[in-house]
Amino acid sequence: MPRLEPGTGKTKWYRSDGAVAVYSALISILIGMAVGAIIVVVVGLLKSNISPAGIWEGIRLVFLGVFSTGRSGSALSFGFNGVNLGNMLFRATPLIMTGLSVAVAFKTGLFNIGAAGQFLMGTMGTLSVGLWMGWAGVHPFIAWICAFLTGVILGGLWGAIPGLFKAFLNINEVITCIMTNWIAANLVTWWFDSHEIFKNSAEGGKVGYIIPLKNVGVVTPKMLMDVLFKGSQANGGFWIAIIIAIAMWIMMTKTTFGYELRACGSNRHAAKYAGINDKKNIILSMAIAGCLAAAGASLYYLSGNTEFYWSTYQKLPAEGFNGIPVALLAANHPIGVIFSGIFMSMLNISGIQLKYLTAYNEYISDIIIAVIVYLSAFSMLFKTVLSKKLRKGTGGNVNAEPEPVKTEEAVPTEDAEPVPELKTFDEEVREDYKELMGESAEKVQTESEEGGEI
């Protein structure tokens, strides 16, 4: 609960819930980066081909890889690197979309672990329709729209399946999501396997790739990205992702639809009591999540820089699962997802820089991501601690109750109850724990509570 400033009745921005969420995400990131640096040092000390100077280079690349401009002479040089920054935004695009997918579902109380499958369905729809329309000579702009929409709709339908199971049979969406992921992987493999025309046999030496959409000219316009980041893979898909993120934010917070969705997510029973169709909202929420993940795939393959390896039945696309840490790090805030998506992709770029410029390999960045993912689960804990600290800092008047309306007669109810003593349900449970297990249980309870948030 943000602290009220005496007098104004408003919360200072740096103490608001949002600010605290940002601080806690930053803490996760800093610890993750620090762990990454430690690993760089340890690996450097263990490997004979890395000198102390090499270790220092590795650390600098972990933090500033995206600003690396290669080597001038023997020393690493840093500065504005349009290619790296542009590639960072390009790679961030699908992450932002799958992050949005997970975040929106989460706000409705659903854990969308099926973004990978939805991503694949989007890929299939976009590539097939894009190529077919390209060959049929449809105007590239119309072909782009149709390819994008087909992918999005297919992903949405795919996402709706776990939603249907959840709404009507109360089957946990995590289980159906995992199953639909693999069904999608096999379905997509079968689709491209049985349609030879999509296979790229024209370019020599390429086995198992689908013809890229740029060959038929169906490509997202650059929308100034080529001016800003010359020579990079960046394109207008990034702007589209940002627009979608803002639209999602507006939808979730400003509309009656978002109000219904969040009510269902927060308390399905109360939503039902209020006459909200909880089943409809669960299905819609999963469908929207599917659309978002699939839109990520569409933008990725419409970029003109990417090729799809169709034999996916053994491996699900990493973008699907990386949406989860992106959403977690952003505390499921649609706007926050833009930044966490860019950050994740920055680490990726750093990893590549490490690989090319030093004797390290790129997997260091995967370890950093792993640590951050791990810590982002704790971000709720950081949040609680930070809120308390911020409140304590000014010895605040937390109980800033409005002036009693009636001053004539003593107010009868329990309102005299001190606010810190108000037992919310969680506190009650925590107290029960304490009574059962003594003080030490409090800490355990706090942590397990955080775990439950995921």
């Binding site: 609960m1 009220l4 509309t255 109000y259 109750e401 109810t413 309102d415 109850e417 919310t424 009574e435």
Partner: protein, 515 residues
Amino acid sequence: MSEYVIEMNHIRKEFPGIVANDDITLQLKKGEIHALLGENGAGKSTLMSVLFGLYQPEAGEIKKDGQVVKINNPNDATALGIGMVHQHFKLIEVFTVLDNIILGAETTGALGFLKKKEAREKVIALSEKYGLKVDVDAKVEDITVGMQQRVEILKMLYRDNDILIFDEPTAVLTPQEIDELMEIMRGFAKEGKSILFITHKLNEIMAVSDRVTVLRKGKYVGTVNTKDTNKQELSNMMVGRPVQLEIHKKPATPGETILKVEGLTVPSKIHKNNAVNNVSFEVHAGEILCIAGIDGNGQTELVYGLTGLEKASAGKITLLGQDISNASIRKRALTGMSHIPEDRHKHGLVLGYTLEQNMVLQKYREPRFQNHGFIKFDEVRKYSEKLIKDFDVRSGQGPITIARSMSGGNQQKAIIARELDRDEPLLVAVQPTRGLDVGAIEHIHAQIVNERDQGHAVLLVSLELEEVMGLSDRILVIYEGEIVGEVDPKKTTPEELGLYMSGAKRQKELGKEAE
């Protein structure tokens, strides 16, 4: 030897920004039943937590038999012979009664094997000695609430506690069970055990206690001998102003039928039988019809069936002449039904939402609050500020307070504000005063009566016998999903109601009517 077994002298316990216990003194004599009376938030729980070692006081001392003791944790409390029956039982549902009783105080033989046989004998001996009938081999999930409470009491006895704390023990019991409990408590006192009895029910205090200590807003008000006081004086001490204990209302003037229920049947989720079986009744404008009964006899399902939260398998519901038997929840609400739900956390509020968002839980779709799907936030704010003012809902930050952080009483007030302001011809109120204290109850009762006087029909479901007797104009008693009696509150007695509620009595002709 001191006169008192437990003395808590000048206890002070602070929480950040507030003093929960301010110089409170409580002295418990050996062999007495000592009631601790106070509204929610008066500091009763904090004081008991201090005694039980959950909190350390900032000032004051605790004496046991005249010796100053330091209670650092519940284990210390147990070692001093202090035991507690919590309001919400601390039992493991899938364990047997015996396992629950010995849990944490198991006697073990070589290699750590349990000596269950000895434990069993001890438990049976105790239960016979004090008349605490339990089935030691039954699982806790299968036994009644009354028996669960006896298990909790046996837990204390098994640990040879002689200072027994009962935290709101009667909240879940039927009148007959309450009498039994009172008898058991008197038996303990006779044995020389000392009892601390936390409650806000004045009848019980008058019936069983020897002395009463009253707390108000964290402060000590006084200790009086029960025989020298009366209910009115006690409630005035507790609330700090004269309280109307009796509900004052004009005689009802029932008008046309608002709600007509015919042969309503709702299947149970727990067992194969119907939770509500062929129930028929009518509610008229300007009357309060009360469904009385022991918890778990189908009241919840009856309301679910009425409001649409659950599907009825048979029957016809007519509201204002419209058949709503198969209508959606929203349709029913819009036809003219508002609903104060039984469980304010489950159904009543979206706890993660702010107070203002909760205030428009049904109304957000009205053109007043939305424009092409976009919520009009300033209208929502204005409306919720009005409700907050009119119904005196207190919270830390007004409209933007997260509902979860509000006190139970204010959460309930918020729901009541929302539902009454919808101004529908039928109000379904399920246990509207559950867990609230005298002051808040008085307020809510007055509003329900006011609702009736405006010509609305009120269907009240309550487990509190006093509320049933005081508030209703007509009482239907439900037992095992069937209406077993219709009585006039002015002509009946709690004892007669108790007989209907426990299934011992039944009006024959009612059953025939329903056929």
